[in-house]
Subunit: 397 residues, 2 copies
């Protein structure tokens, strides 16, 4: 089916589209009489349809980044059966059981020994290969333009992460009355607001790499052996630290929630250690893999640091250390902002929400909030991830 321009997919168009696309039609045994189509998307810019008949099933999405990231890191992105660039339509693998949402695993106290390895692989590849460290200026700008269309989802993110928690908003909520003063304190913290404005401007203005844009622990599906990153509907060109920070920030939330899940059968102490190790490993492995890709491709097409200029090992080391230090501070800042918004903003996380006792939940949330506030304001003082782990431990009671 040759559509010469992008059109939002409705059900009628979708059926036409499937009929005309052999790779999809064949999955349904080329029968369309008993077709059941269910729209399960967010009603926003991106469409998600589950298509089922007696012969088979698949998922259809309109989301550009899935294809792009899948090519860069096929091990950790669901396989795409069919992709149509003009329409941005994707037919993709259905992630079969026992895959579960990572956040649910973290609430249940399940260890995933390969998580740090896999996520650092995914983040280093998707971020490195879509940045100016690997792309020419021309390719980079072309790609930036392509993803500018995702403006409504970007705007939504900017509002819920960087604005709502810092003002009175009908959408905000928190464990009340316990956190009433905490929420108020945030709305009155000038230094915090100055810092969050800097992050917001970076989020809106800095086209550093094609980021996933919503990389929290419910955007990852896992088994002990498999880690699959899903839902890149928010993808756009933004700061790398927004992705790394989202993932690490949500692991820190999971950490602070553990005391609320502890019971006589399981004090969760060992599991808290595992989370801290995973945080430390995620950053350290990310650092190592990212620098590895940089070294490997330093004579490649990337135009950020031309080899003719950055032409000696000492200088190469200097720029890498500086780059990673900036990225580390961005990661901490965005991670902290993501934590705050999950406690006093519109959308909360199951890590805390599943703690039934409100008073106990508020205690966990307050510790996380205090840590996040400190991190947002003091992030530039940290030089290594083990210092972050120490600071988390200091805030745990």
């Amino acid at each position: 089916m040759a559509l010469s321009e992008f059109r939002p997919l409705d059900e009628k168009l979708l059926v036409e589209y499937i009929k005309a696309t052999p790779s999809l039609a064949s999955k349904l045994g080329d029968k369309f009489d008993d077709l059941k189509i269910k729209e399960v998307g967010d009603g926003n810019l991106n469409f998600v349809y589950v298509v089922v008949n007696a012969s088979g099933s698949f998922v259809i999405k309109q989301a550009l980044a899935l294809k792009e990231h899948g090519q860069l890191c096929p091990e950790h992105v669901p396989e795409v059966y069919h992709f149509d660039r003009t329409m941005s339509v994707i037919g993709m693998r259905y992630l079969e059981p026992p895959h579960i949402i990572l956040r649910k695993g973290l609430v249940a106290g399940i260890e995933y020994p390969l998580l740090a390895e896999h996520m650092s692989e995914y983040m280093s590849k998707t971020l490195f290969f879509t940045s100016l460290l690997y792309l020419s200026t021309t390719e980079h700008k072309r790609s930036v333009a392509e993803f500018c269309g995702n403006v409504e989802l970007c705007r939504h993110t900017a509002r819920v992460v960087f604005s709502d928690p810092y003002k009175i908003s009908q959408y905000n909520h928190w464990t009340s009355p316990y956190l009433d003063h905490d929420a108020e304190a945030i709305r009155e913290d000038n230094m915090l607001k100055v810092e969050v404005a800097e992050l917001k401007s970076k989020f809106c203005e800095r086209s550093q790499a094609l980021i996933h844009g919503d990389l929290h622990t419910a955007s990852v599906m896992v088994t002990p052996n498999s880690t699959q990153v899903i839902d890149p509907e928010f993808a756009f060109y933004g700061p790398m630290g927004f992705d790394v920070g989202a993932f690490i920030g949500n692991l820190i939330l999971a950490f602070f929630a553990q005391d609320g899940h502890a019971n006589q059968g399981n004090d969760r102490k060992a599991y808290k250690e595992w989370i801290l190790n995973t945080i430390e490993e995620t950053w350290n492995l990310f650092y190592k893999k990212f620098i590895g890709l940089w070294d490997e491709h330093k004579d490649g097409p990337g135009e950020a640091y031309l080899p003719a200029i950055y032409n000696n090992p000492e200088l190469q080391k200097l720029i890498q250390v500086k780059f990673m230090e900036d990225l580390f501070h961005d990661t901490l800042g965005f991670g902290a902002a993501k934590m705050i918004r999950r406690i006093i903003g519109v959308a909360h996380v199951e890590d805390f929400e599943s703690i039934k006792d409100a008073s106990k939940r508020a205690d966990c949330e307050r510790r996380a909030l205090e840590f996040a506030k400190m991190l947002l304001k003091e992030r530039r003082k940290f030089q290594a991830i083990n210092q972050i782990v120490s600071a988390i431990k200091q805030h745990q009671s």
Copy 2:
């Protein structure tokens, strides 16, 4: 003439286009037999045609930003007679004598008492109104996408400003042999290269405002009463400091060139003072006007700092001071990079080129180069423009 999509204009299409556009056809007395069309563009992404017949004349350009900036600051941008968004075609005013290129006026030692006033007006309006201080996230991203098409010119700028001067390049030249060692020293200055990489990444990645992109003193036409900014072909969403820095950096080049133009009849001392005053006034007026626009529109559509969050005078002051300090340091960094590239890069400036005596020229250039190197590396230590003026004076001999 209803063209439904953008097409590069060739001469044949241009004639059709003029015939079908009353506001242009009427300027030629609706006669097309004796039409003379001359292509005077840069042969790049943007087209410039001079169209003449017995009845009249005009200039036709394909350049999006002229219209955009003209609406924001009509006093200092040539009037546009006709604009076609789909085609980006512009029919505009021909800037009649006695308008001359500002750079030529600076070489001739002519004072323009209104220059700082006018340029600060132009820069504050074009930069403020195209930034997130005035635009919603949606409008901003839409506009960013629109100007991503200008990728080839951006790439060209990135190369000539941030790359070529710092490596061996067949395009580089300088006043040889006098500056051979100076050029070599720049290629071996690790700290300078680290700083210039940071600026390059900001130039390529930060969509802060719709900048002119080439705002040196030959992109401005002047009379004692009129200041007109021309040639916005390089316009794209970039860092504000790139524009302010280009203008101020080129004024500093003009300053360091004056000793080469001094003769028995005119020692240029008073003129050097006028340039320094103009530099100081340009920044101070820009600062004042920019903050004025910000205060005036702080409850407007801009989404960078929502009034519900930045809701007290102390906090408002805090974010403005921080914003302007960052912009000041960007301005100094980009200004310095622009100076360096005009002395040892591919394209030089008439300010120095018109100094016939090579040894004398090299002396002037070396002082400018030493100042620019210091400024690029130490820019964060400066807090106010009068400190810059003092530093310029210290480098003048």
